[in-house]
């Protein structure tokens, strides 16, 4: 996991201020801005399918960032993230349905409520480490899932609940084209908040706890507080992601927040790169696009000679499933440190080009 830090040449910092910006170089900042601008234009030229995928990446990416703060930055594995995601979704719907809180307010409030739940389930983190903690979060997954199925007043029970679309001053964000902007803004904001968090005191403390908790404690970091807090923060992101999901689909049902979903979240951050903020987004995109890509590819096979030769027919679904698994495996075999790492290497290569080793 050795990290090669390459500081770009020809881009000298003249003050500590410029040395602590989010983007290490002006080019990278300009690229990021360009990226956001391009995204803003998306609804103009993309159809709903692509938009819906981007929306998915948006809300899943926010939740995944929370998980990465927990797993990648603080080093506490969680296999219960989808339950927090679900809690956020139900909470936002409930705030709106039951208390009439406007959706625009219900979403952040749902994040706050989920934070509370995260803090409760973060209590074991003060004592448990590694996989023991991971399985405790698995318990959280099942306990919350059970709660969702039971708490009729909150979730509508196993039947699920309706979530109204987001409306601001009478303008309803109820189409993909409109909702896309909601998710985009939320995502940019959440990612900037996350980046800021990680470069200030509490963020550093979280990483310190991951890397060496004993010495972190002696450096003045309250382990219990930060371990629990990281659950809270992670739940906050999950809650926001879940709330955005709820008002996108306009219907929330227990069924979706299963352990498999939690594992998918883990996949996103592992493939994206643990402890990398932009990696999280890349990993989410990977996990969202991969099945779609495989679907498209297998569709191309369908009806061809290969199809008849292998007698695939409806079995083509299994071929697709297997390809998804195989791509994940191959990816990790060749890039076990995740997309962010690969991305870093590509950047380093071009920075040093043509003199790279």
């Amino acid at each position: 996991m050795a990290n090669v830090s390459i500081i770009p040449s020809g881009d000298f910092k003249t003050s500590y201020g410029t040395d602590t910006t989010i983007f290490p170089t002006t080019t990278s900042r300009n690229f990021a801005i360009l990226g956001v601008v391009l995204l803003l234009a998306c609804p103009a030229f993309m159809d709903r399918y692509w938009l819906s995928l981007l929306i998915q990446i948006g809300y899943l990416g926010i939740a995944a960032l929370g998980l990465n703060i927990l797993v990648g930055f603080t080093g506490q594995i969680s296999i219960g993230h989808s339950a927090f995601f679900g809690f956020g979704a139900f909470a936002s719907a409930w705030l709106n349905n039951r208390w009439g809180v406007p959706v625009a307010l219900a979403i952040p409030l749902a994040g706050v409520l989920t934070t509370g739940v995260g803090l409760i389930f973060g209590v074991p983190a003060a004592r448990l480490k590694g996989l023991y903690l991971a399985i405790a979060t698995l318990a959280a997954q099942y306990i919350l899932q059970d709660f969702f199925g039971r708490a009729d007043w909150f979730t509508g029970g196993s039947a699920g609940t309706i979530a109204e679309p987001l409306t601001v001053f009478g303008f309803a964000f109820d189409t993909d084209e409109r909702y896309f902007y909601v998710v985009l803004v939320a995502m940019v904001v959440m990612y900037i908040l996350g980046t800021n968090l990680m470069r200030t005191r509490d963020g550093r403390a979280l990483v310190a706890v991951r890397d060496h908790y004993l010495s972190a404690e002696i450096m003045g970091i309250n382990l219990t507080k930060y371990r629990t807090m990281s659950f809270g923060i992670s739940a906050f992101y999950a809650g926001i992601g879940g709330a955005l999901y709820a008002h996108y689909l306009q219907f929330v049902s227990v069924e979706n927040f299963t352990i498999l979903f939690s594992i998918q979240f883990l996949g996103m951050i592992i493939i994206g790169g643990l402890g990398s903020i932009m990696g999280t987004l890349m990993g989410t995109a990977f996990m969202v696009f991969l099945p779609e890509l495989m679907q498209a590819l297998t569709k191309m096979v369908s009806g061809t000679a290969i199809d008849t030769a292998l007698n695939l027919r409806e079995n083509i679904a299994f071929l697709r499933e297997m390809s998804v698994g195989i791509v994940i495996i191959l990816f990790l075999v060749f890039e076990p440190d995740g997309l962010a790492h690969r991305w870093k290497q590509i950047k380093a290569y071009w920075k040093l080009y043509p003199f790279s080793h």
Partner: protein, 295 residues
């Protein structure tokens, strides 16, 4: 009261089965610190293989079952060599993700090969059920209980005294050090995967005989997580004890539930509450080794 007693007996019998699966988890963990999310699919592969030998080849059980075990042994080695070997030395979490990938692949492959319908095993024992303390129990459960006790004793000895067992533990502790001692990390891993696959097959066949084989059977893989953790991730005895506890807990919780609480799925959730409670008192499970924390 007889109901309670019968539930207790049933809990122990089913718990032993959880114990077997938990052991196969622990085995891989002990050698490589990898949590195998494809464990459930190992069960499934074992069950389907045996089913196929017994139905398509009409082999008798006493022949088909050992062949299954041999196949699983080879399967474990091949899997390690082909997929997991390149991952040696990579971050554990990435390897865990690979096992998740494997589970997706196997799940789909099994459905492709054997179809999506549950299929029954041919009858194996002359008496499909037998009486254990007044409770009718599937014979195969009882047999697997015996096998699991044997396996557990074997592993206990293996890790404490045998040269290879020590080497496996060393590999888990620190691969670099293990290599510096002349231990081939690859061999250790291959061995642990092979044995684990084999042990899983025992459980897979048992479940298959009882309920029929279908891809949903792989769910057992995740179901035994609490058992593994309760006992302590790196303890063979812990795995079995954890399995028994979970088995009994499920049944007792169901009893309480059906008699008084009427909450519904206490039997599914109770192990998790108890799990958290136990972990708060014993953070490394009942028998897990504590990390040594020195600065």
């Amino acid at each position: 009261m007889t109901l309670f007693f019968q539930l207790l007996v049933n809990g122990l019998i089913v718990g032993a089965l959880y114990g077997v699966v938990a052991m196969s988890f622990v085995l891989i963990y002990k050698a490589s610190r990898i949590v195998n999310f494809a464990q459930g699919e190992f069960l499934l592969i074992g069950a389907w293989t045996c089913w196929w030998l017994l139905t398509s080849w009409q082999l008798p059980f006493w022949l088909g079952f050992p062949i299954t075990l041999v196949f699983m042994l080879i399967f474990g080695v091949v899997l390690q060599v082909v997929v997991l070997r390149p991952m040696i030395g990579e971050p554990i979490i990435s390897v865990i993700m690979v096992t998740i990938g494997l589970s997706i692949v196997f799940q789909a492959a099994m459905k492709w090969m054997f179809g999506v319908f549950a299929k029954p095993f041919p009858p194996i024992f002359a008496h499909a059920t037998m009486d254990v303390f007044g409770l009718q129990v599937q014979t195969v459960y009882v047999v697997s209980l015996g096998i699991s006790i044997l396996i557990m004793a074997g592993f206990g000895w293996f890790f404490k005294y045998s040269r290879l067992g020590l080497a496996m533990r060393a590999t888990a502790f620190d691969q670099q050090v293990a290599q510096s001692l002349g231990i081939s990390v690859r061999q250790m891993f291959a061995m642990s995967w092979a044995i684990s696959a084999m042990v899983s097959a025992v459980a897979g066949v048992t479940v298959g005989v009882v309920n029929g084989v279908s891809s949903a059977l792989s769910f057992f893989g995740i179901k035994v997580f609490p058992a593994v953790i309760l006992g302590g991730l790196d303890s063979v005895i812990g795995a079995v004890v954890g399995g028994l506890i979970v088995g009994v807990l499920e049944n007792v919780a169901h009893y309480l539930d059906s008699q008084w609480l009427n909450w519904g799925n206490m039997y599914e959730i109770a192990p998790f509450y108890v799990l958290i409670a136990i972990l708060m008192v014993k953070p490394y499970g009942l028998f897990g080794t504590k990390d040594i924390e020195r600065v």
